[in-house]
Point group: C2
Chain length 393, copies 2
């Protein structure tokens, strides 16, 4: 049922039930794998001397954002003002909205957040239009009555994804000047995310895409410098490419998010040899509810996991018992033997799916079930609320 | 933010704000169009002498289910026990779970619902295995201590979709005998839904598919009759094919659900000349947040609408200003001029999208914003809670 959505809870040892007790379908986090992913990325950022600002649009959880910050992250990113609200309410005090916001009511909400975190952290927003800057400045003036530097502003430049963002170079300089002319706004950085590079399968293709992006950023930084602006922070990167941004000498802040859970789509990427290996930590537990001569049918369809980046893969029940998942609609999945396997799973069998794309999968669920000790023998340690589930505005 | 999810509310006239006040992205229902769809389907069922049991997996709202029953529906269908719980809690007392349930805890919850609605309505479940019947009978015996006919049971037969269901004829008879041997269970009907026919584009293809399905049902009914079983109710059909099931003389209950809202995918079907025309009543309101030389970017991506059945279409701003929506990821949509249009929408422009698939789109949202008086000039009349949002178990 929808309401109330219970808050996160750490279960006392006496309340901890085994993995078998988890009703299906459910979104389960392998906390041991997640902790290792968390630490690997934190170590990576420290070693490379870059800031880490993980993208919380992926997990939408204040508890997980706080864990990331305890491990060294400077703050988090989100895509929506409503996500920022949910995280600030959960004690996350440094949030960058890596997106453009145009609606005045939303900008007012953002300014209210900036007042709320004052002295503890910062709220940031991206801009890619003079109109966006004017609106933000008007709201900052209204909300902070002349206080300088009330909101952090990042100029988004298009480094190859061709979605939002101004063109590198002069257009970015012009927009930076607009921001600098507004005393209520603090010009902090460049948002330079190459989303289109994240799932290029080959190492070579990703290297080429990020090399182009790096040139675009360098050109922009030089143009800004010639205009007497900067140096600005450069923030961007995702789980598919962050090693390249970190090694470029251009980016000094990484926004990767999916590394914490990983998904089937990212696992398809050829891995950079020097990049930390992340483990799948996010699973949909599902049960076989029908078996025919051709297939077994499980109770997880695309209301349980997003399919925009491909169907989930299936954890083999045991070595050699591979299964492939085919689309059975909103509420069902069709499981068929794969490879050398000839055996269907039995009616009632529990199975584990690895979602194709973690971000929109998490957004389907009110809670993540945190398991310690592995998916076979472990126990439920924590129920983690997806605080910003459905936080679209 | 996630919690609390506010209940449905009818706004007093003084509280009603214009459509302009709706923040984006938001899922909006055109209540006038919805009411017409509701009435058209109720009239159709009455005229054809068939029962209507609309599928509430689509809207997941107790309020809308009650509206459908006030207009003549005998009850509703759902796919999940948790959906049934949400609807019963909202006063909907006759619910059929058109799906197999195997987990004992879920069957206990279903039995608890059956006790709760006793004397006011019925709870039904589909079965397609002897094991499923045994489990259900065991729970019925445990929960009702010998009371006969405590739960309604439907034998699901595979009429061509090839997902769940036993084969037509003898296999269905064998399973019916299993049900009849359990005094706690009441054998009520055949679940005969041809999901694969719903989006066959041509009238002819749908007619052929439903003719095959009708033969499968007739064969099964004859087999049952020869075994001295029946007559059983025959329930099934969807928005793409219900005219055919109603005209067949075989089905006596229709389960269509999408007719209430319609979506872009169903609109692509060639319409049966005699079938009522339904209107789009479900829209995502979205705003342009970035404009480049190539496209405008809006704030609705596939966290706002499901894309399993195709991308949304865009309501033209005015005649001749057609736009096409391209995938911009989880949080963005890319809008480009289409047809003879050469004009991009402006920064800040509000637009209306027609989702590709209504069911999983509704499941992304906590509330539907009900608008009366049209999308241009209307006002917000009601906030409708999606009671069973995320009700997966």
């Amino acid at each position: 049922m929808n309401a109330p959505v219970e808050p996160s809870v750490d279960l006392a040892p006496a309340q901890r039930q085994g993995v078998d007790s988890i009703d299906t379908p459910a979104l389960v986090v392998d906390l041991d794998a997640m902790d290792r992913n968390l630490q690997r990325m934190a170590d990576f950022a420290r070693k490379h001397g870059v800031r880490l600002r993980p993208h919380a649009k992926m997990h939408k959880s204040a508890e997980l954002a706080r864990l990331q910050m305890q491990a060294g992250a400077v703050g988090v990113c989100v895509q929506k003002v409503a996500e920022a609200e949910a995280l600030v309410a959960g004690g996350v005090m440094d949030v960058l909205v890596t997106n453009e916001v145009i609606a005045l009511p939303k900008l007012r909400r953002l300014a209210a957040l900036a007042r709320q975190v004052q002295a503890k952290g910062r709220i940031g927003l991206c801009v890619d239009s003079a109109e966006g800057v004017r609106r933000l400045a008007a709201i900052a003036a209204e909300s902070f009555s002349g206080t300088p530097d009330s909101l952090d502003v990042y100029i988004e430049i298009d480094v190859g994804q061709h979605r939002c963002g101004v063109q590198p170079g002069p257009a970015a300089v012009a927009l930076a000047r607009e921001v600098l002319a507004c005393s209520g706004l603090r010009l902090v950085g460049l948002q330079a995310y190459q989303g289109g590079a994240q799932h290029l399968r080959s190492v070579q293709a990703r290297r080429e895409a990020i090399a182009v992006a790096a040139d675009a950023v360098r050109f922009t930084l030089t143009s800004l410098q010639q205009a007497g602006i900067g140096p600005l922070r450069v923030t961007g990167a995702g789980t598919g490419s962050f090693l390249l941004e970190a090694a470029s000498g251009v980016w000094n802040e990484l926004q990767a998010g999916s590394y914490l859970f990983m998904d089937a789509d990212y696992a398809e990427n050829e891995r950079e040899p020097a990049q930390p290996a992340f483990e799948h930590a996010l699973f949909v537990k599902t049960q076989v509810v029908s078996v025919t001569a051709q297939h077994a049918v499980c109770d997880a369809g695309h209301k349980s996991h997003a399919i925009d980046s491909g169907l989930p893969s299936v954890l083999p029940l045991e070595p050699g018992r591979d299964l492939v998942y085919a689309n059975g609609g909103d509420e069902h999945g069709l499981l068929r033997p794969a490879g050398s396997n000839r055996q269907l799973p039995a009616l009632g069998q529990m199975l584990w799916l690895i979602p194709g794309h973690c971000d929109p999968t998490v957004n389907l669920h009110n809670h993540l079930i945190g398991v310690r000790g592995g998916l076979r023998q472990g126990h439920v340690e924590r129920i983690i609320r997806v605080d910003a589930r459905g936080a679209l505005t």
